[in-house]
């Protein structure tokens, strides 16, 4: 069977996930129980220990998808399409989590579930864009076409992200002041950093596993080339 790569370090994803889970437990424990409550927001602010690291990693995921798409268009190597497939799904999951976390924070703070914060709104827009690309992939049978179109759509969506952010920021600035919690004083850095690495390890591990699955699916979709020996037998 043809191999589409993504299996150079078979054990590594599991190591990363294990490590990530441990760090996450550690960081979250610290953030929830050890770190002092914030001056103005009290215990509610603790969600930042999860929200901020998730946000950082989401941006990394988007960057990863953008890079994978570009590399695929230049190399035409389907292993990059497998990576893009993984990145899109993991990125969408992270985006969804960000929206949920944002809502959890917004309701007690502002009384509404969604407050059109520019950053979170941009995340939502990109979430829908990624979901659209994932849907597109389901409708295209030819692996090559699917890969090219996903890459093109991903590049267009990624380029759009900063523009979306700017436009929503201006749009919102006339009505509301900045409402997202982002200032974290130095006392809180440790759990933040630990969780950032935690989510990074988890994300990388999941992307690697998912890319491996995508590679296997590709290999299954695509039949092996016919044996040359067969032809020699026919000619004889």
């Amino acid at each position: 069977m043809q191999d589409f790569g993504n299996n150079r370090f078979p054990r590594l994803p599991y190591v990363l996930i294990g490590l990530g889970a441990l760090c996450y437990l550690f960081g979250s424990f610290w953030g929830l129980f050890i770190a002092p409550p914030e001056r103005f927001m009290g215990d509610l602010q603790r969600i930042m220990y999860v929200h901020v690291p998730t946000a950082w990693n989401w941006m990394l995921a988007v960057l990863f998808c953008f890079a994978a798409a570009i590399v695929f268009l230049f190399t035409n190597d389907l292993k990059w399409d497998a990576r893009l497939d993984a990145g899109l799904e993991v990125g969408s999951l992270l985006a969804f989590m960000l929206c949920v976390q944002g809502s959890i924070w917004a309701k007690p703070t502002w009384g509404v579930w969604w407050d059109w914060d520019p950053r979170l709104t941009s995340v939502a827009v990109l979430l829908f864009a990624f979901l659209g690309i994932i849907a597109l992939r389901r409708f295209v049978d030819d692996p090559r076409k699917r890969a090219i179109w996903s890459s093109v759509a991903t590049i267009i969506a990624s380029v759009d992200l900063p523009i979306v952010y700017m436009s929503v920021k201006w749009w919102n600035s006339l009505h509301q002041t900045q409402s997202s919690p982002d200032t974290v004083s130095s006392a809180f850095h440790i759990p933040l950093r630990v969780n950032a690495f935690a989510i990074l390890f988890l994300m990388t591990g999941f992307i690697m596993l998912r890319a491996r699955i995508a590679s296997l699916r590709l290999a299954n979709e695509v039949a092996p080339p016919p044996m040359i020996a067969e032809r020699a037998g026919e000619m004889a």
Binding site: D141, V222, A223, P226, E234
Partner: protein, 211 residues
């Protein structure tokens, strides 16, 4: 622009192409000298159309390499396209446009003379949607001629044509050959084309069985 014709119009080696799990073309090689006519025979589904489409750059081969009209099939696709023309199963025509307008998409000059050659001059300004199957075939043929190719790929050129139309095809192929254009024809009309072909090739299940 200087157009020099290489000795071999087509030099192909090991061409293979799959659709999902099915291999439509397996390890096909051929050499076609300039100005010769090649007949490609085989049952329906044997890979004739796929071979023509791969050589015309409509689709990419999964394996193998080729030089068509002197240009590499994989790295110089646009050059191959400029020098070749494909008469496909699909007519490539715009229903809402007239015969003349469809040809003008290729080039603005010489449209009427080519329409005359395929006996469609009197219908030049009628929309294609009013054309019969045979007339569409003639127009597709005209479209091929408009491109002034060095290598021509004809996929079942006699389909839907009446005896006059078939005679037109014969005449056009002879004329192309005399002008040094290589012609590859996938066809079921083995006797008719056999008379004019320099070389013949039979495909079965994607492989060459009788070169």
């Amino acid at each position: 622009m200087l157009r020099c014709m290489p000795e071999l119009a087509i030099d192909a080696e090991g061409l293979s192409r799959r659709y999902g799990r099915r291999w439509a073309l397996i390890d096909v090689s051929l050499r076609v000298p300039a100005g010769s006519v090649v007949m490609i025979a085989g049952r329906n589904g044997s890979g004739k159309s796929t071979l023509l489409r791969v050589l015309a750059t409509a689709i990419r081969p999964d394996l193998g390499r080729a030089k068509v009209a002197g240009f590499d099939l994989l790295s110089h696709r646009q050059d191959v396209r400029n020098a070749t023309a494909l008469l496909s199963h699909d007519s490539y025509l715009y229903e809402a446009l007239t015969a003349r307008e469809n040809l003008e998409i290729v080039r603005r000059e010489n449209v009427m003379s080519i329409l005359q050659r395929v006996s469609l001059a009197d219908r030049a300004d009628d929309p294609v949607s009013t054309f019969s199957a045979g007339m569409r075939k003639r127009l597709s043929f005209a479209r091929v001629l408009m491109q002034d190719p060095k290598v021509v790929f004809l996929d079942e050129p006699y389909g839907q044509l009446d005896p006059d139309g078939a005679a037109m095809v014969d005449e056009v192929v002879r004329d192309l050959k005399s002008r040094g254009v290589a012609v590859l024809m996938a066809t079921h009309q083995l006797e008719r084309v056999g008379r004019i072909a320099d070389q013949s090739l039979t495909l079965e299940m994607g492989r060459v069985v009788r070169p």
